[in-house]
Structures are given as structure tokens and as C-alpha cells.
């Protein structure tokens, strides 16, 4: 048996479950309460759990993310919702200088069991200040775990282990996925350690995460029609990266294309490529390729935005070029 639900419902269920299960869990962020959540993830929560646990905040990202850190240190299990990754830049100091470093600089005396959730990604004509994909930046920082749920199962299942983790976990939810529907099997289990093969193939490994996963799957279908069987690897966990799964897929397919909505320079894609070189260089039949966002602030106009982002067609083209 399985049931159908969308990404938004899956995430809402996950938070609901956490709030019911543990009185230490509370949700804090801009418009999570009375408004029902910017993306309606917490609709109805205020009535059910009350204003103490569904806590609307002022527009003070630095302040309330830092307060989440303090509350975690004080014995609570906060879920802090930063409306989008774009606004998380206002909270970077608390995330990088405090949350990520706290355990280490206290010599292991303290840990920060905090979950920070934020929307990421472009594709909705929101222009340069509302379209960032900066999860690669966060994945650069030791001391935090970085998750990118891209399936219904992961949207439903990643929050619980993130809350159980004694260290800070940052969850990136791509806005392009929120209305995606899927089947949730009854016996789902997810971890926050491993990458996962979402489509088995043999000719090329397409390695991606988040909002680019459906695009990679579409590209794989188009390639299949042309007789090319692509394997699609969903990174899921951006820090720490599951190098073994990446290497196994590349060793099997001997070719790899990395797809990442981040900008090309200094991207997470670059890190994945480097790990392929370090681990399975001699398995490669061709140089590793990547499809990233073009190096431009994301433009508003629909056709220009589309041209700036990874698209199934670009992935197909990259694979075909590689295969000659």
C-alpha cells in the first residue's frame, strides 16, 4: 500500500509529527503562525499547538536564528524557518560563527541541536534577490549538516532524523518541488547520511540534488528514448557528501555529468567533480561535465531566467556531447 501526497503535505506532516512527538520541539519564523506559513507548510498549526510553539517572529533573521541556537542550547529542539535562503544571508553570522563552531570552540562541552529550514532555488520569475541557490555555500562549513530533500519520501522523512541529530542541520527545500505529487509507500525509511540512486542506468551517471532532480529524471527519460541509459544519483545530503555512492555510480557508468542550480564557479558541482577525480579518475572514459546556472544574477524575464538555469535539454545536450 502507498498513498499519494505532495511535497508540501509531506513536509507539513513531518513537522506535525515532530510537534506531537516531542514537547521540546517548536516552530519559529516569519509568518509561520497566523499566516499559516509562507508556503502553507504550517497551516492550522497555530490553532493546534498555540503561539508558544508556533512562534511568529519579526523580520529579524539574525536575531531569531540566533535565538534558535540559544533555545537549542537551553534544552529545546527548535525548528527555525527562514523564509528563503535569500534572507538567510542576514543570519549567516549566527549560523557560521555560532551554530557551526559552538561544539568545537567549547571543546565539546556544548552542542546545538537545531534545525533550520529554508526555501531555495529559482524558476518562479522572482529575479536576482529571491532566486538564490546557495546550499553549496552552506555545504562548505564544517559543523553543520546540509540536507536537500527532493522526493516525497525525503520531504516526509528527513526532518525526524534532523531533529534527533545533536548538531545543527540545515534543510533546503526547493520551491519548484512544493506542488510535486508522489507516492509514499507505507514502509518508507530515510536516513540523513547517504546519497541515493533514483534511476538505475549504465551509460552515464547524472549526479544532482534538490530542484534539479526532476530535471535530471526528465533528461534521463529523453535520453532513454535515444537509447542512452542514464543513472541518476540524488545527493540528498550535501554535507557530508556520500562519496562512496557517487564513486560507485561513476565506476559503473564511466561517465558523469553533475547538475547543480548553483553558479558554476566554486559550486557544489565543482566539489563533486573533484571527488570523482580523487576517487575514480581511472574509471572515466570522458572528462566529467557539469550543468550549472549561468554566471549572472538570476533575471526576471521568463525566457532569460529559463536560459540561466539548468534545464533537461541542457542536461541531454551535455550527455550527448560526451558520448559523441
Amino acid at each position: 500500500m502507498s498513498r499519494k501526497l505532495n511535497y508540501r503535505e509531506a513536509m507539513r506532516e513531518a513537522m506535525h509529527e515532530a510537534l506531537v512527538a516531542d514537547p521540546r520541539v517548536f516552530l519559529m519564523g516569519e509568518d509561520v503562525g497566523r499566516y499559516g506559513g509562507t508556503y502553507a507548510f504550517s497551516k492550522g498549526f497555530l490553532d493546534e499547538f498555540g503561539p508558544e510553539r508556533i512562534r511568529d517572529t519579526p523580520l529579524s533573521e539574525l536575531g531569531f536564528v540566533g535565538a534558535g541556537i540559544g533555545a537549542a542550547l537551553g534544552g529545546m529542539r527548535p525548528i527555525v524557518e527562514v523564509m528563503t535562503v535569500n534572507f538567510s544571508l542576514l543570519a549567516l553570522d549566527q549560523i557560521v560563527n555560532t551554530a557551526a563552531a559552538y561544539r568545537h570552540m567549547s571543546g565539546g562541552q556544548f552542542s546545538v541541536p537545531l534545525v533550520i529550514r529554508m526555501t531555495t532555488g529559482a524558476g518562479r520569475q522572482l529575479a536576482a534577490q529571491h532566486s538564490h541557490s546557495l546550499e553549496g555555500w552552506y555545504a562548505h562549513i564544517p559543523g553543520i549538516k546540509v540536507l536537500a530533500p527532493a522526493t516525497i519520501e525525503d520531504a516526509r522523512g528527513m526532518l525526524a532524523p534532523a531533529l534527533a541529530d545533536p548538531d545543527p542541520v540545515v534543510i533546503f527545500e526547493h520551491a519548484g518541488l512544493f506542488n510535486m505529487e508522489g507516492e509514499l509507500p507505507d514502509d518508507w525509511t530515510v536516513d540523513i547520511r547517504s546519497a541515493k540512486v533514483r534511476r538505475v542506468g549504465r551509460d552515464v551517471a547524472i549526479i544532482t540534488h534538490g530542484g534539479s532532480l526532476p530535471k535530471a529524471m526528465q533528461a534521463a527519460e529523453q535520453l532513454a528514448a535515444a537509447g542512452i541509459e542514464a543513472e541518476v544519483v540524488d545527493l540528498r545530503v550535501l554535507r557530508p557528501l556520500d562519496t562512496a555512492t557517487i564513486a560507485a555510480s561513476v565506476a559503473k557508468c564511466h561517465r558523469a555529468v553533475v547538475v547543480d542550480e548553483g553558479w558554476r564557479t566554486g559550486s557544489l558541482a565543482a566539489e563533486v567533480m573533484a571527488r570523482i577525480m580523487e576517487n575514480v579518475f581511472y574509471e572515466l572514459d570522458a572528462p566529467v561535465a557539469r550543468v550549472c546556472s549561468e554566471e549572472v544574477p538570476i533575471p526576471y524575464a521568463r525566457h532569460l531566467e529559463a536560459a540561466a538555469l539548468p534545464q533537461p535539454e541542457k542536461i541531454v545536450a551535455a550527455v550527448k556531447e560526451m558520448l559523441g
Binding site: 534544552g75 529545546m76 560563527n97 567549547s106 562541552q109 552542542s111 541529530d165
Partner: protein, 333 residues
């Protein structure tokens, strides 16, 4: 232009019994001697990185911290050696941390600016100006949500008042009526920038009061005034009346850090403030009241020096963490 001149020397009766008065005096002396030795060991190359001394400001930390309870949370800055010591951290452990030794509170991972102590609920040692304020708000929130009686005392300097974190934190704490005591140690300079060169409103209490919380000002060189006002403030915060702001007007006698040539203030100004030094003014008041003899003062000083010597010996006998353990304490596992 604000007045950089020192206030009149603290005077008036000391409303404490001899035992308590001498305990606070001893803590100021312990800090002073520890800081002097730290500077010496910095010069000798045994302590590296940044080192920010609390010399001159002792009355503020000692007076305020003795007004708090063991269950309270403390959030401090990078000028926190004294706070750690008064709160109960062993001086040897502090010194070992500054030496970078395994026997330090953070095994040498933090150094001078990152003293943490779970046992005494000292949540650092924060080297980002204003960085501790949001943390204190969260600690206050956790206490309130769990119906705990503890309050959170957050120490920060006048420089932090210019940070967004200050304004966001005071607003949140007041909005949510959190048990947070904001302790602003105003020593008139954010590193080398005088308050009036960085603030359009130099009355810091006006800023705090604009967030709808009581804001009190006190002579931070007067340990009696510091302690009494903090005691009242802590009581109000503990009673659930919401946050409170106290501005301690104090002065640092030494440079900002060991890299500071002090080009931004007049020597005469520093000298004038030194005449208000909290240790000798408090000692004089106690002597005038017959609560302290010169012999007793010398004994206090000798004990502090002995403690410092033992702390240095402990640090020097300490060991280095093996490089094989480099990656520990990044994650739980």
C-alpha cells in the same frame, strides 16, 4: 560630545558584611593579578592570538556576577576571563586554555576569546561583537518555555550597540517578555572608536528604553552600586517582568588587545580613570569603615598571586592535544 572624564570616586557606606565585601574585593584582585600575568605571558610568547584584558573593569563583572544565581546562564564576550573566573572556572583551566593546552576548558580549541563552562552555565566567550545577544534571547526563551526560574545575563560592550544583533535581540526579548538581563559594559570605546564617533545617540539607555524595557545606568567603577543595581534588576527579571537593560559605565585601563598602540585616547584621560580604579577605591572605603586592614589586603593579594602562580604552573605542565585528534568535536560522531 560625551564626557570622557572619570566620575567622582565612589564613596559612601558599603552595605555588606565584612565577609561578603572581602570576597568581592578578593575576586577583583584575582582578576587583576590573572590579567597582569596573562599580559606577561603574552609578552613571553606563551599566550598567542588575541588577548583582551579586563583590567580596570573588574567592579562591573564581579559586582554583577555576584548578584546572580548558580542556575543562571551567562553569555559573555571576548573580554571574558574575569567573568569565567568569578563564575567559578578554575584559574588553571583558564590559563591552560590561553596556553592552548589540552587541560584548558576547550582543550585549547578556543583560546582567550572562547572560555566555555558547562558546569557554571557559561555559554562563552563570543568573539563576534553582538554575537552573544541573540543566543541570550534563545536561552531566555528556552527557560521561559520550560518554566525554569533561571535568568540569562548577557554581557556585551558599547560597541555591540551599533550592531543589528543588539536591536533585534532587545526587541525580541521585550516582545516575548523573556528573562534576559542585558549587561552593557560601556567602556567608552569600541576598539579605538569612541562612542560619540559611532553613535548618533550616545545615551545607551535611551536606545534600550525604546524597546519598552527598563534601562538603568550605573557607575561601573563602583562595585557597591554595580552589585546593588544588578541584584534589583535580576530580581525583576526573575519575577517574570521581562528583560532589563543595565549600562555599566566603566573604563579599560589597558589597550583593547595586545596589538593596540592606543592612538585614539589621551594618556591623561586614562590616568584620570586609573585614579578611580575599583580595587583601591573599594579598599579605601572598606578601610575607612574598619572592614579591611592593610594586612588583610596584603593577604588577599598574596593569595591571588599564589593562585596565579599555580595556574601558570598548571598551564605549563599541561599537554598538547595530539594532532591525530584534530577533527574531534566538529560533530557529535
Amino acid at each position: 560630545m560625551i564626557d570622557h572624564r572619570a566620575p567622582p570616586p565612589p564613596a559612601g557606606p558599603v552595605p555588606w558584611d565584612k565577609k561578603f565585601a572581602l570576597r568581592l574585593l578578593a575576586d577583583m584582585v584575582r582578576i587583576r593579578r590573572m590579567e597582569e600575568k596573562s599580559a606577561e605571558m603574552y609578552g613571553a610568547g606563551m599566550i598567542r592570538g588575541f588577548l583582551h584584558l579586563y583590567i580596570g573593569e573588574e567592579a562591573t563583572g564581579v559586582g554583577a556576577l555576584h548578584a546572580l544565581q548558580p542556575e543562571d546562564n551567562i553569555v559573555a564576550t571576548y573580554r571574558e576571563h574575569g567573568h569565567a573566573l568569578v563564575r567559578g572556572m578554575d584559574m588553571g583551566v583558564i590559563m591552560a586554555e590561553m596556553y592552548g593546552k589540552r587541560e584548558g576548558c576547550a582543550h585549547g580549541r578556543g583560546g582567550s576569546m572562547h572560555l566555555f563552562d558547562r558546569a557554571t552555565r557559561l555559554f562563552g566567550g563570543n568573539a563576534i561583537v553582538g554575537g552573544g545577544l541573540p543566543l541570550a534571547v534563545g536561552l531566555g526563551l528556552a527557560a521561559k518555555m520550560q518554566n525554569e526560574k533561571r535568568i540569562t545575563a548577557c554581557f556585551f560592550g558599547d560597541g555591540a550597540v551599533a550592531e543589528g544583533a543588539f536591536h533585534e535581540s532587545l526587541n525580541l526579548a521585550a516582545l516575548w517578555k523573556l528573562p534576559v538581563l542585558f549587561c552593557c559594559e560601556n567602556n567608552l570605546y569600541g576598539m579605538g572608536t569612541a562612542l560619540e564617533r559611532s553613535e548618533s545617540q550616545t545615551d545607551l539607555c535611551v536606545k534600550a528604553a525604546s524597546y519598552n524595557m527598563p534601562a538603568l545606568k550605573v557607575d561601573g567603577m563602583d562595585i557597591v552600586a554595580v552589585h546593588e543595581i544588578t541584584k534589583q534588576a535580576a530580581q525583576r527579571v526573575r519575577a517574570g517582568e521581562g528583560p532589563l537593560f543595565v549600562e555599566y559605565q566603566t573604563y579599560r585601563f589597558r589597550a583593547h588587545s595586545m596589538f593596540d598602540a592606543e592612538l585614539y585616547r589621551q594618556k591623561a584621560e586614562v590616568e584620570e580613570w586609573k585614579t578611580r580604579g575599583p580595587i583601591h577605591t573599594f579598599s579605601a572605603r572598606l578601610k575607612a569603615e574598619g572592614k579591611l586592614t592593610e594586612e588583610e589586603f596584603l593577604a588577599i593579594d598574596a593569595r591571588a598571586n599564589a593562585e596565579v602562580d599555580a595556574a601558570v604552573a598548571f598551564a605549563e605542565a599541561g599537554t598538547w592535544e595530539p594532532v591525530e585528534d584534530l577533527l574531534r568535536d566538529v560533530h557529535a560522531s
